[in-house]
Symmetry: C2
Subunit: 334 residues, 2 copies
């Protein structure tokens, strides 16, 4: 019989459809391999086209003296970097002026690369850029919340091939994040008598040891007990902290290893699926929170949401989390 599992972190119930569960291999979509060139003259993210993007806000340089990672304002930002935050309310029409920050992190000069295949030091540089831009964004008093994310492939919402991630600062604190904070706080007090929900939940996953994928000094990756969708992976830092920006240099190196490990398991095991990842974090102002805990969620886009999910907010996961984890753990990385 299927199980309706509670995701204690998100507060959502998930239907784990064990009886019609697919095998891990069934989620692989063989895509036509395209022959993508290393540099594309029309790509605004390729070297030589630096003037096709707005001026860079951050840059790291490789051994060759050329840039290795660049952060630039998003030319097609949904929010405007200039102007004041104004809150206007007339009857039921309440809005905030669309002020905000939106940058693109160009992850490598090489157009045909994919994040999973980048060398570790390059992934470290990407994470360094994330950390730098997170602090820079939060220095702007108009910004209430910052999210860092990556869209890989058309099914994940991007049509740009050149590897990149994005960072957005909004003038409002998102309701979803507020709800998660609520879950964390409620469970902090009532379930765990003063311990961080994430810390104790992670300890429980480690004790079970059936959904863990990888572990190193600072991070653990796993498919959560009530994963919302097939191969949904969480990377949790072992050290309790509410803000990604507070990551130390040695943790950052460990995170690069863990992120590459996770993405490589997708790339090899699921044949380069479309995916999103997101860093869920509070601001540096909230870094000392005892009850929130930053983490990374990686979601391969191998299933489709439909009316049931839209109408209830509940997901149906047709892959047993224990099987997904076992499959990902078994992927041969070399």
């Amino acid at each position: 019989m299927s199980e309706v599992r509670l995701n204690v972190i998100t507060g959502d119930w998930v239907i784990i459809a064990t009886e019609r569960a697919k095998r891990p291999e069934d989620f692989t979509h063989k895509k036509e391999k395209k022959d993508i060139p290393r540099y594309v003259t029309t790509c605004p993210f390729c070297p030589g086209n630096e003037d096709k993007t707005p001026g860079e806000t951050f840059k790291l340089t490789g051994n060759d003296g050329e840039w290795s990672v660049r952060a630039v304002p998003n030319k097609f930002s949904a929010l405007t970097p200039d102007g004041d935050v104004k809150r206007i309310r007339v009857d039921f029409k309440q809005f905030i002026t669309g002020v905000g920050l939106h940058e693109v992190i160009i992850e490598t000069p090489e157009h045909n690369m994919t994040t999973a295949l980048l060398p570790l030091h390059q992934i470290e540089q990407i994470l360094l850029a994330y950390r730098n831009r997170l602090f820079a964004f939060y220095k702007d008093p108009r910004i209430e919340h910052v999210v860092i994310f990556k869209n890989h492939g058309e099914g994940a919402g991007t049509s740009l091939e050149h590897p990149h991630s994005q960072i957005v600062g909004t003038p409002v604190f998102p309701g979803q994040v507020m709800n998660r904070l609520g879950e964390a706080l409620r469970n902090y007090y009532y379930v765990n008598f003063g311990e961080c929900l994430y810390c104790t939940y992670l300890a429980d996953e480690v004790k079970d040891n059936v959904r863990i994928i990888s572990e190193n000094n600072s991070f653990i990756s796993f498919v959560p007990y009530a994963a919302h969708s097939p191969f949904h992976v969480w990377i949790f830092p072992k050290r309790h902290c509410a803000c990604f920006g507070e990551i130390t240099d040695s943790e950052l190196s460990d995170l690069a290893v863990m992120l590459k490990d996770s993405l490589l398991r997708f790339y090899i095991g699921l044949d380069n699926p479309d995916f999103n990842y997101m860093i869920r974090s509070l601001s540096p102002r909230g870094a000392d929170s005892k009850y929130f805990h930053w983490y990374i969620a990686i979601i391969p886009r191998v299933s489709q949401t439909a009316g049931f999910e839209l109408g209830t907010g509940m997901n149906i996961n047709t892959a047993l989390p224990e099987e997904s984890a076992k499959f990902l753990r078994g992927v041969k990385l070399s």
Copy 2:
């Protein structure tokens, strides 16, 4: 400048990206027209194949004496109709046995039909089936919540061509619905001093008269002020009631007119897009709720969610709701 609008019904902030807003026509995807036959011998929903579905739970008959609408258990249900609801909790692993009801409403005997083009009396019969199955589902004491929905097209999560909708009864009350109830209740008390949020919000939409699409005796369709995505349409009943099942016969006829009107505007104006619709309703036990109000949401799948939406729960709508409504209002229906 863009606006970050608050959807007072869902409690979500939505970025209305006015500056990079697309024109309504840009959302149309010209699809290859397939020549679909009226009957398909291998389709389990076509006449003559009644034995390929589990036994029907409800049926309506046309003038020719043959069935016109059938409800049958879903052969590939994610939940099991037999068994007890058990709630089990071990450490952080909390689940409910996957007991529930899941039926398919076969909307017409004709395989190549589409709901928008069905005659009104046929759409009335579909709604009658919805009403009957909703009451039947809620009679089962194991069912906590029921959702009725339709997935049209692959982009909306179905690969079955034969027109059908679905009804699912879950053994748990979904967190998302609980959050909406919370919004309704909070606004009922604090914003409106004892009036239903939905009733007063609808009155405000009518007063503004810039996002309304259609109106009849019992229903109003409109693109909400803070629509989550392009051409997101809500159909609100004018009479306050929390449960769809309490719809009267004359209201049901009016709803058939309104649903056909909305779907036809999509079909003609946006060239038969993939879409989902969902009926958001409480149970008949909660029908007298003063603060919840049932309604239908119709969502054409013309945009893609990505890491920003997943990571914040906020949507970016690249169509101005006022423009979407104007476009849909202007579609020539004959």
